[in-house]
Amino acid sequence: MTPDKVVVTLIGLGLITFIIWYFWLVKHPGVKAKVGTGGYQEALILVKGGYTPDIIIVDHGKPVRLNFLRMESASCSDTVMFPDFNKSSKLPEGETISIELKPEQPGEYDFQCQMGMFRGKLVVE
């Protein structure tokens, strides 16, 4: 094996390790929803290339209001879906759209765009 092949192999394996670590192994903490007026646990989620924040932590049994603000025109993100709650909503660009839920059971509930390119998680504690 020539030195250049060794170098290429090592760099490649390094990259693979990095990808595994970056996408799968690192768990990043979510954002706790703030309790706003009327007892709603509220969070503002920016929709641009993904959901920011994408992990929202709420308490169970209390109503949740997630305000989505979509700041891009790519058609992928024009709908946000909460399959576990049978809820979905169109997100017109530049408008804040509220989605109200009341998670009764603790658990993790995914939300995503229609094709599943963008994903987020509602963690109910």
């Binding site: 693979i16 025109s73 399959p83 599943g116």
Partner: protein, 909 residues
């Protein structure tokens, strides 16, 4: 009779609680509350000009008079009155609601008017606000009628304008919330419909600055427009990108291989300076393509990486970016490479892949729009204006302003604007858009009309019962949208896979690069690069991601078009695998109310005479069977006569004198008691009873005249539907609370073998469970009212709705049209949709599992096949378009024509 001007109740002048003289008119009041409201009103208001007007109008006048500049400025009076519309208010609920509201600090009085579904509240705006009041209404278990309205405001000149306008609107009594979108210049106002008057809102806005407010298109329709516009904009945007990339791409393609073309070969010989210069030019041009046409991929990648997620954008961006960077390095620093054969450039890959993927996205957008066409059609059904009768005048107003209890006028050819009940006139109404029923339905006094249906022949007036978000159409749209956002269970597995998919592709691509670099043929670097880029580009996570949502959206929309509302993807998938279906008898297989079925006459009697006399007697009775006879007489157009000395004999029947003739209607016991000769009709009676009917003897002047039978009749298409269900391989079971004899009679008629009779309402769910324990997937079909627990217990609960009540909670599927054929169509749609989902998933799966190894060059050692990145880009774009097109294919699905059943075939012969 006089009318209480406050609550609108009819008051006897003699027994009125109080009387007031005002401006030469006398007003009578039903209660202390009403007169106090009136007095308070006059005390501040000083005049009351119009009589017989609805209080709401007066209240509006009052508010306008009292606060001609009704905004921002501190309210002059310390107490304000509002009138809130409350849904689901019944007489019994009144006191509780009054108490709940009166309990709020700052509220001095709350009066409930159940007839108009209103609550009148007097409160101090400093210590309570409308949202508190609404909260109290909700707390008491009622739904406050809230409506949304959008106003377009012109003349915004400052940043504070938004706040100012919102404050102005929120200060208007009855307005719950106002939020302005400065980007669209629209303000969305939430208000209680009885208070919020658009004029008032506009005034409020215009009073605080140099603004001009107009009514913006409300609700669904325009949202649709903006959505369509947004899609169109995005599409044009993508097409511009595509044209630019294509314009650069074609010359780049040709010039990348100059040695193929005779003339170019001479101009750009290998290793020449002219070739290098051309490559520089190509590098710059392709960079422009990457930035302009492919910019979104890089932005998408970056945003995704920030979230530690990788998606299609990541793959395309890395693929095209790598090709460009490699080419540029090879061009600028050829010395870095061991030999000249490595220094080829791949600008064509960059440009053409970008072009093809962008084109694919544009086509996808077009096709995607069509999958949700069904819901767009539904939204488009909404009427825009309504003709209402207010204050003695006919007004044409936007449909959003129609209030509950408004009298709405509908002319031939016009759309019924909201849901309601006919109070005058009659007509035929085309309800096909809502119920799927193709024939026009006749409407007369007391009948329910559904918003968005089209009036065909006559004119009529109706009282609005549901407006705004509560109409059947609005509920349907909401249900459909929610269902389209749900998931088919299989999708959950796909989701888990696709979460790992993109990074896995990246890893594969790197591994491909290593393997080809280490072990591949020369020039290994070039091969490795091509393989890595091709692998990145051919993978199509989109096809996987879109496979189910696209079919689901189409399938659920398809259902809605046929009057079938499917709650969720779950229901859809379960409905496809049913083994057994339990049908509730009453109201599902049958009409659910008795009607006259047989008339057997004693020789010499006339049918019309008999029915006229019977109906004339029975019209005084309250028995449901009696109603059937009266209806039969009305259907035949018979004039009912005066009857007197009506007597109900418990357990026997009734008697009365009509036109001087003593008429007896009743059972065998009655005839025996009166000593009437049965004339051999006893057998007839028994035969009718055996058929599950209720026979009644009629005697005139002590002589038997005939036997009439009343029964709950079958719906016209029940039999066809049941035989079709059986043909589809489902076991059909009938469940009823009736006795065995009646139940079997009906079951025989429709061809059901298995009958669960004498089932108490509370045992229905248990019986469903028993069937489930036999290992079957069971659907339960019922009217959704008595059967709620059974519907919930079943694997799929189907509610047969009639009219406007579509949001039946316990059901997974609601059939708007009250026909069993809907069950057949629902199952057929489920089967078609689920099949489509599987096709898509299979296609996407096969595509990726076949495409990736080929791209990695697995075939190269055997067949010498290596995929070009350009082909990969083509395949990738094509695959996602295929998935969407397949989902679109569902749109052309038609319910299978029902074949005549064998019995009918015999009858024809």
């Amino acid at each position: 009779m006089a009318k209480d001007p406050v609550c609108g109740m009819e008051v006897e002048p003699q027994s009125a609680y109080a009387i007031r003289e005002q401006l030469g008119q006398t007003f009578y009041f039903c209660s202390q509350d009403c007169v106090e409201i009136f007095d308070g009103n006059h005390h501040q208001n000083g005049h009351l000009s119009r009589r017989n007007q609805r209080w709401s109008t007066e209240l509006r006048d009052k508010i306008t008079d009292l606060e001609s500049v009704p905004v921002v400025s501190k309210r002059v009076s310390t107490s304000t009155r509002v009138e809130l519309a409350v849904i689901g208010l019944q007489r019994s609920g009144g006191p509780a609601l009054e108490q709940a509201i009166a309990g709020i600090p700052g509220v001095s009085k709350a009066v409930v008017n159940t007839k108009e579904s209103r609550v009148f509240i007097e409160y101090d705006p400093d210590s309570a606000n409308v949202s508190d009041l609404l909260e109290a209404v909700r707390g008491a278990g009622f739904t406050p009628g809230i409506q949304n309205l959008r106003l377009r405001v012109k003349g915004l000149y400052c940043a504070e304008c938004v706040q100012r306008i919102e404050n102005a609107l929120q200060a208007v009594p009855g307005v719950l919330n106002a939020s302005m979108n400065a980007a669209t210049n629209e303000v969305r106002v939430e208000y209680s419909p009885s208070v919020g008057d658009m004029g008032l809102l506009i005034e409020a806005i215009e009073a605080v600055g140099p603004y001009q407010a107009t009514h913006a298109f409300e609700s669904s329709e325009p949202e649709l427009d903006t959505e369509a516009q947004a899609t169109e904009k995005e599409y044009r945007n993508l097409m511009r990108k595509w044209w630019f990339a294509a314009a650069v791409g074609i010359p780049t393609m040709i010039l990348s291989y100059p040695w193929i073309f005779p003339i170019l070969r001479d101009w750009f010989p290998r290793g020449s300076d002219s070739l290098r210069y051309m490559w520089y030019a190509m590098g710059i041009a392709s960079f422009a393509v990457l930035i302009y046409s492919g910019g979104q991929f890089f932005v998408g990648m970056w945003e995704g990486l920030k979230h530690r997620s990788a998606n299609m954008h990541t793959l395309i961006a890395i693929g095209t970016g790598t090709a460009w960077i490699y080419s540029t390095i090879a061009l600028l620093f050829p010395g870095l490479f061991p030999s000249e054969e490595f220094t080829d450039v791949y600008y064509d890959v960059t440009v053409v892949v970008t072009a093809l993927v962008v084109l694919g996205l544009a086509m996808e957008l077009k096709a995607k729009g069509r999958t949700s066409e069904a819901i767009k059609k539904l939204i488009g059904l909404q009427a825009k204006t309504a003709r209402v009768f207010r204050a003695g005048k006919e007004l044409s107003i936007p449909v959003e302003e129609v209030l509950v209890n408004d009298i709405v006028i509908v002319r031939p050819g016009e759309k019924v604007p909201v849901d309601g009940e006919v109070v005058e006139g009659q007509s035929a109404v085309d309800e096909s858009m809502i119920t799927g029923e193709s024939l026009p339905v006749s409407k007369k006094l007391g009948d329910e009309v559904i918003g968005a249906t089209i009036n065909k022949t006559g004119s009529f007036r109706f009282r609005a019962t549901k407006v705004g978000k509560d109409t059947a159409l609005a509920s349907i749209i909401r249900l459909v949208q929610d269902a389209q956002g749900s998931k088919v269970p299989i999708q959950r597995i796909v989701d888990r896979v696709s979460g790992y998919f993109t990074p896995a592709v990246m890893i594969l691509s790197i591994m491909g690069f290593i393997v080809w670099y280490d072990f591949g043929p020369s020039p290994s670097l070039a091969y490795a690069l091509i393989v890595a880029v091709t692998t990145l580009i051919i993978a199509c996570p989109c096809a996987l991601g879109m496979a189910t949502p696209m079919s689901l959206t189409t399938g659920i929309g398809l259902g809605a078009q046929h009057g079938i509302l499917i709650r969720s993807g779950d229901a859809l998938q379960t409905a496809e695998r049913l083994n057994a279906i339990i049908l509730d008898k009453t109201g599902t297989i049958t009409h659910g109310k008795p009607s006259l079925t047989d008339v057997v006459l004693v020789p010499g009697q006339l049918e019309t005479v008999l029915i006229t006399l019977a109906a004339s007697v029975e019209k005084l009775s309250e028995h449901p069977l009696a109603l059937a006879i009266v209806e039969a007489a009305q259907m035949r157009g018979l004039m009912l006569r005066e009857s007197r000395e009506f007597e109900a004999i418990p357990g026997h029947g009734v008697s009365a004198i009509v036109e001087g003739l003593r008429v007896l209607i009743g059972n065998l016991k009655l005839m025996r008691r009166e000593g009437i000769d049965l004339n051999g009709l006893e057998d007839t009676s028994r035969r009718l009873a055996d058929d599950g009917k209720t026979p009644m003897f009629i005697a005139i002047e002590g002589e038997l005249a005939g036997v009439i039978a009343v029964a709950d009749t079958l719906k016209d298409d029940s039999k066809d539907a049941i035989s079709t269900l059986q043909e589809m391989g489902l076991e059909v079971v009938m469940m009823t609370g009736d006795n065995e004899r009646t139940a079997n009679a009906i079951a025989r008629q429709v061809g059901i073998d298995r009958v669960l009779a004498e089932v108490l309402p509370q045992d229905k769910a248990f019986n469903v469970q028993k069937l489930q324990l036999e290992g079957k997937k069971v659907a339960m079909v019922g009217d959704g009212i008595n059967d709620a627990p059974a519907l919930a217990q079943a694997d799929v609960g189907m509610a047969i709705g009639t009219g406007t009540d579509v949001a039946i909670e316990a059901s997974d599927i609601t059939l708007i049209k009250g026909s069993l054929l809907g069950v057949v169509t629902a199952i057929q749609i489920s089967r078609a949709t689920v099949k489509n989902v599987y096709q898509n998933l299979f296609g996407a799966f096969i595509y990726n599992t076949a495409g990736l190894p080929i791209a990695l060059g697995v075939l190269y050692p055997f067949l010498g096949i290596l995929l070009s990145p350009l082909l990969a880009a083509l395949a990738m774009s094509f695959s996602s378009v295929t998935v969407i097109s397949n989902a679109n294919r569902l749109r052309s699905w038609k319910p299978t024509q029902l074949m005549p059943t064998s019995n009918e075939m015999e009858a024809i012969k």
